[in-house]
Amino acid sequence: MTFETEASRLPVELRTEALESILVERNLVDPKVMDTYIKMYEQDIGPMNGAKVVAKAWVDPEYKARLLEDGTGSIAELGFKGPQGEHIVVVENSPETHHVIVCTLCSCYPWPVLGLPPSWYKDPAYRSRMVREPRKLLSEMGLELDDGVEIQVWDSSSEVRYLVLPERPAGTEDLSEEELAGLVTRDAMVGVAKVSV
């Protein structure tokens, strides 16, 4: 098959509608079940889950120790588990070491704590470059790391999923766990940003 022109391609929206119309008409999928899945990942499962995990680790040293030892179990304590979270490993950023997560082969991502991945995580530029020139790419994405900081890149090639535990920013000593969770961003938990006040 050669693609010398693009004019003959059917739009992806139309192909999607076509497949749904076939599957629903033959009772192979239930649109209500589809709606449930969609609602779950649009409303219930997202980076606010991971932010709660991070905030708890910041205020509770015992929880943090458990979290780094057994990510899956400690995250489940807060009620977060499910698809793409069978085994979650948490890696901790420090002034000396910066962790960042990628999936070069598809876009594996820790759904129970971060929801579905953002556009940039799925971008071929991110997938191809993060394992070859992370410092340059992070810089282009707005995160300048000191030359002395060691970068550790985690490629999610098996069913293990990764979550970055970002550094707690200075000046947050008086904030509650809930207020801290409000500071934690998705980007920081993937490792392409830091948490700031």
């Binding site: 990942y41 997202g46 991110y126 997938r127 069913e159």
Partner: protein
């Protein structure tokens, strides 16, 4: 497989555009529908998550790139459903043309033939009795192989040597499970590579960690 999906280190993709912090997971209605249908297509086609990733990777590279993430998922669902003869080849295109008013004939629904496959348990993690072949600290060489079927061994680490940093829970081997050739559960190792060994001494200095199934690894040659 050596497909467009195996992108680690590939050059030419340009720069990444950051999305806003509260970027929603879906930007268009069809993306929602494609997402949910693709998830359900595994059950409808009688396949599994490894077949799903295989069906994602083996689409034409141009489809892979032009249709975007959820477009890829749609194409993946069509691959799985066609392979299991739930839908006929060309059925989606024919229906799409009818939906936009063209008078085309649709292929009849075929006789389904789902794979002869049943998982031994939910998920991908399994208990195995054999002890791990490698220990934390061992130097291991990644096999220099080009599996013709599905694999989770990216090209950029093949034929390189790294150090085992952790032993993960044993998992179903995607290479066989994707093709219903057995779960073949294996020990999985987190292996660390020196970036300059991977990409050359002119490149950036960092550590690359990746989880590799036992059959992808060999003991380092002692010369």
């Amino acid at each position: 497989m050596d497909t467009i999906a195996d992108m680690g280190g590939m050059q030419g993709f340009g720069s990444v555009e950051l999305s806003p912090p509260f970027d929603p997971p879906f930007h268009e209605e069809w993306e929602r529908r494609a997402f949910a249908m693709a998830l359900l297509s595994m059950r409808v086609s009688g396949t599994n998550l490894d077949s799903f990733r295989d069906a994602l990777a083996r689409q034409h590279p141009l489809d892979y790139l032009i249709d975007g993430y959820y477009g890829r998922w749609l194409n993946c669902a069509v691959n799985l459903l066609t392979d299991s003869a739930i839908i006929a080849p060309g059925a989606v295109e024919a229906r799409a043309r009818r939906l936009r008013g063209e008078d085309v004939e649709e292929p009849p629904a075929p006789e389904p033939h789902k794979p002869d496959y049943k998982p031994t348990a939910a998920g991908s993690i399994r208990k195995i009795d054999l002890p791990p072949m490698f220990s934390v600290g061992d130097r291991v060489r990644v096999a220099h192989i080009h599996p013709t079927g599905h694999t989770r061994l990216p090209r950029y680490v093949r034929a390189h040597t790294g150090v085992v940093r952790a032993i993960r829970p044993a998992q179903v081997l995607p290479d066989t499970n994707a093709h219903f050739l057995g779960e073949n559960p294996q020990h999985v190792y987190n292996v660390a590579f020196d970036s300059q060994d991977l990409w050359g001494s002119e490149g950036e200095k960092f550590t690359l960690y990746i989880d590799l199934y036992e059959s992808y690894l060999e003991p380092e040659e002692t010369s």
